[in-house]
Amino acid sequence: MFKKSTFLAFVLLLTLSMVLAACGAEEEVPEEAESDGEEAVDFEVVPEEGAELMLWSDGDEQLEWAELMAEKFEGEYGVPVQVEEVTQEDAPERLATDGPSGQAADVFASTHDRIGRAISAGLVLENFWPEEYEEEFMEAAITATSFEDELFGYPSGIETYALFYNTDLVEEAPETMDELLEVASELTEGDRYGFMMEPQNLYFVYAFLGGYGGYVFGDEGTDINDLGLNNEGAVQGTELLLRIRDEVVPGMANEDITYDVRTALFEEGNLAFDINGPWAVRGYEEAGVDFNVVPLPELENGESPTSFSGTRGFYVNAYTDYPDAASLLAQFITNEENLLEAYEITGALPPRLELVEHDDIQSNPISVGFLEQASHAVPMPNVPEMPLVWDPMEAAFTEVWNQDVDPQEALDRAVDTIETAIEEQQN
């Protein structure tokens, strides 16, 4: 009897110790040093032995393209690539949690303005061939995917908004803003509207602000201590909003002009001019509207509006087990041939200089319209302070549009709010 009970106790203790030892073992995982790291000094990059990669991509056509890329990459390098659908908006956030635990993709797509925080957290690896990319890609795309003077992204698409017009209502695209407003106010009648844009959204309004000389952050969007959103140019740009309100859409509150309203009106053929991005093209085509896209018309001072551009790029997860293979994949899918394929499948404008001149793109008037606007576009700043800018600016534009507050006063207040917030964020 005595023996049996001792045995029982022993078994109990053994199980307990095993359970606890299993807990203890976890501790050692993050201690592992990455021994492959130093070999990468060699510029010759070859996939690691037994590498397997995962690629995150948006859905629909992007996914279709990504799957094709995975197949081609395996064919060329013999490295299997698994594709998983994670939107480019979600990817940076998921990287923060899934990266350290080893569940994130090795390569993923993100828009440049959302990746800033992940980069500043050290979750993304630098582009391995920065010199090559700087030579071969549009400057705006390189600026957008660089961070503190270091290139991180492998740019795959650039987008900006431009002027859409309904070719049934308007014969020729206006050259200047005055012309646009004049035509638009003539066309406004009953249920039909000449021109609409979201007046409280800095993303769109920035085109005017920038055209007159305003800017968000100085030094190409990197100097957070230099805000240019309440300078003379910004005020002039905001005053243009008031002209639009009075001449084209009198009596409308900015809350009434939503994205849904605008697109619905355009699809019904009841809106002549619309400022929108490439994402709207497919919907308008499906609605059967005859339309064309041209650069935003010149401002009174003879300058072109400087729209915000967004760059979609691929990034390599810093926690990848196969940094070389992953960098190769990112490089592979942004090479000339594959970006052209991306354009054909998804319609994304490739930021590669060679491709801009390509016949396939030059023969499509809509793409040409966006590309021309892109040459005037400014990348949205990608500093982590950028999110602090949107809301105060929206409040300022709302005040000006809805309550006739003096533009200078409203912008000063917004800039003050942003400065305080930036200061507080530095804690």
Partner: protein, 443 residues
Amino acid sequence: MSNNLELQVSHKDKSHRKIATLLSVLFMGLGQLYNKQYSKGISWALFEIIALIFFIKPISQGLYGLITLGETPQVRERGRVVDPGDHSILLMAEGLLMLMALVAVLAIYFFSIRDAYLVGKLREQGKRVMNFKETVRNVWENGYAYILITPTAICMILLTVFPLIFTALIAFTNYSSPNYLPPRALVDWVGIDQFIRLFTMESWRGTFLGVFSWTIIWAVLSTLLVVFAGLFVAVVLSQKIVKYRKFWRNIYIIPWAVPGFVSILIFRNLYNGEFGVFNDMLRSVGLNAIPWLSDPMWAKVSVLLTNLWLGFPFWMALFTAVLTTISKELYEAAEVDGATIVQQFRTITFPIVMVAAIPLMVFTFAFNFNQLTFIYLMTEGGPSNANYTYAGHTDILLSWIFKMTLDNGQYAIASAVALVVFLIIAGFAYFNLRNTKSMKGDV
């Protein structure tokens, strides 16, 4: 005779208690060995040996990580990670787990000492000491409930308590964008700095009162409106005079069955001042259009009305169910006594249904207090308010915090705010539920 003997023994070995306890403090099991409980003593001792060999390293490392939150930052060279460095947040999670393991080990240690003490006491009193077999049986018989509850308790600690403590701990660090994000940078403990910041930060203080008072108004009104609308409709539909009662009930249930966020987005379009259906209807009967979403006051009204539309069917269903449980005889008796319908409602219906409703009302209040999704989908906090920072007229605390903190990667301060909101809600719920009849007792 036997009594005499016991007294003698206890007199002789008065110090059993002390010695056994002391020995057990020195090393687990020694006390038991001294008490001549060899099997038990050996098991305890084995446990301590195993613990010393296997746990000391992970536990001390874990605690060290928890205290320092990492010491070596990441090192990179040529775009490749050379030294991954310490990940403060992971260290914190591991350290917390190890802390819990340590507490468990210490608890076992404490039990072994207590056991030695108790057995020593028994010996002093000269009582018979249970042998090992009897002890095991005793544990099985008397501790059965504890053995059954152990898996649940472990799951609860790991799945509920651990994440809560973890979130709360974040509030005492400086985990935030852009300067304190792991793995590139280390995170540090900053004590109650985040809480101090909350009340000294200009952007917070200026807006806090406005948003906080609207949050209270919103939570109270939205709760009361849905409850009383639900009660009203349920009582009306329970009257026999009403024809096609089932049909009406089904119609009223529909809003509840439609996925909330779809209807919210549709409502948002219906409220549109220029193109919305509501204003079209107003204009068609010759009334002035209402600036539903662009005027601060009307925006608040719109939000409350939509919430009413979405929320009352649940309450109607609940009250309908409760009403069927009220005995008809009560009403018959009341009628005999000559009570009017209003009197019947006030003295019979209302008190009975409220017993069922109040705990749920408290939950609804807490839920609405944090109704981030609804506000976010409905107005995004708009119309914007230039006097607030990062908040609009209809922003409630949580949606404001969401914009200001999570959107901008201010995790530490977000967690501090979450703690503050938790205290408000928990305090409110606690006092309300404690004073509610329906939550007293199990039956």
